[in-house]
């Protein structure tokens, strides 16, 4: 699929609404379609984080290795969700493993390229930071709730 056909898809995603046209064109030029089979590793904790993904279909589980409990799933992301924020924050390494639970189609964005553009144009950088900070805050909130164990017997 060529990048021109990705533009309408990207434009209709709530995550990208509000980006100026010139930025959207730039984002589109850094995007490509990707497919994963069920059980594929999307990224591994500690590896360089040079992409982020917008899930179009399917489901990806975010895992962490807890020594006593083995591999624990802490979050799943599905259609319309953004996967991966480590590309934007030093040291640009994945904080978790991500593996598909079902066959998954996504848009992959070249984070390395976008990072450079963000450095060159802080307007673009600010737009990305606003959006990804919100994702990180939502994640933090969700993690707090999970830690509170709200459904536990003594909550």
């Amino acid at each position: 699929m060529t990048t021109t056909t990705l533009e309408p898809i990207i434009r209709e995603q709530p995550f990208f609404s509000g980006f100026e046209d010139k930025y959207l064109k730039l984002i589109v030029s850094c995007a490509k379609n990707v497919r994963f089979d069920e059980g594929d590793l999307v990224f591994r904790e500690g590896d360089p984080a040079n992409q982020f993904y917008l899930i179009r279909e399917g489901m990806v589980a975010v895992h962490v290795m807890a020594s006593q409990k083995g591999l624990v799933t802490v979050q799943t992301v599905g259609q319309g969700d953004i996967l991966g924020w480590s590309w934007l924050f030093p040291p640009y390494r994945w904080h978790f493993d991500a593996r598909t639970v079902r066959p998954t189609r996504a848009l992959a964005f070249d984070g390395k390229c976008l990072r450079t553009k963000c450095e060159q144009d802080h307007g673009l950088g600010y737009e990305f930071l606003k959006r990804f900070t919100r994702i990180v805050v939502e994640r933090l909130e969700a993690t707090r709730l999970q830690l509170l164990d709200v459904y536990g017997a003594h909550s």
Binding site: G80, Q146, V150
Partner: protein, 287 residues
Amino acid sequence: MAPTLEISEPKAAADPMLPVPCRIRRVRNETADTFTWELQPADGPARFAFQPGQFNMLYVFGVGEVPISISGDPADTQSFRHTTRAVGVVTRAMRQLRAGDVLGVRGPFGSAWPIEAAAGRDVVIVAGGIGLAPLRPALCRLLAQRRRYGRIVLLYGARTPQDILFPHELERWRGKFDLEVQVTVDRSADTWRGNVGVVTTLIPCAPFEPANAVALVCGPEVMMRYTVRELQRRGIAADRIHVSMERNMKCAIGFCGHCQYGPAFICKDGPIFPFDRVESIFGKAEV
């Protein structure tokens, strides 16, 4: 609301403080700490009517009395059900009881989910943990009158896959074309293939029209707080979000003041409140 447990002989239910002896007909273990009872009056058949969302006071002789919501189908008037999680003195004693044992029942008490008022609208049900039990009668009633409503969406969060309540029923509901069911767990091992994350994460993409939706929410208070915030962010007005509140109870008929919640008594004004009525006191530790 006046109790309507109608015993044929003798007519003992007239006094709302007097428990009616009821026999456990069946016990079903739902999860490691949660069980469902099917109950009938001990001394003969009776018609039992309740509104979805109401609760009974269950009295374990010699131990104590606790409020427990009715979890059965309101169309079943011959018996009634309670789904209880064993957390303390009385509920643990309840778990020891078996089919054939007798306990005292007063009720039903309290306000109901706004099933009638929701006609013509989308209905979003958000449940957390044991909170699915008080919502089950509401869903049964909605499905019995399916054509009167727009989209019906059930979003349910549990701690782990093993803690999911009514799993077979959820499977059946999920199989229906006119009901959207989404389940998520807080954490899971590798074998679970569904959603992981708190129930609030299901709200942004759930298929309903906020301007025309009614939300019914039941679960731990902290979960309801974040849920309400997310529903409001989607655009559901506070007076169309209904929450079910819990406080310790004694009389259940508005006499003793044990269940006071700000200016309201949960036993008679609640347990179900439109959120705009409790918004100013919701989530405050001292209330």
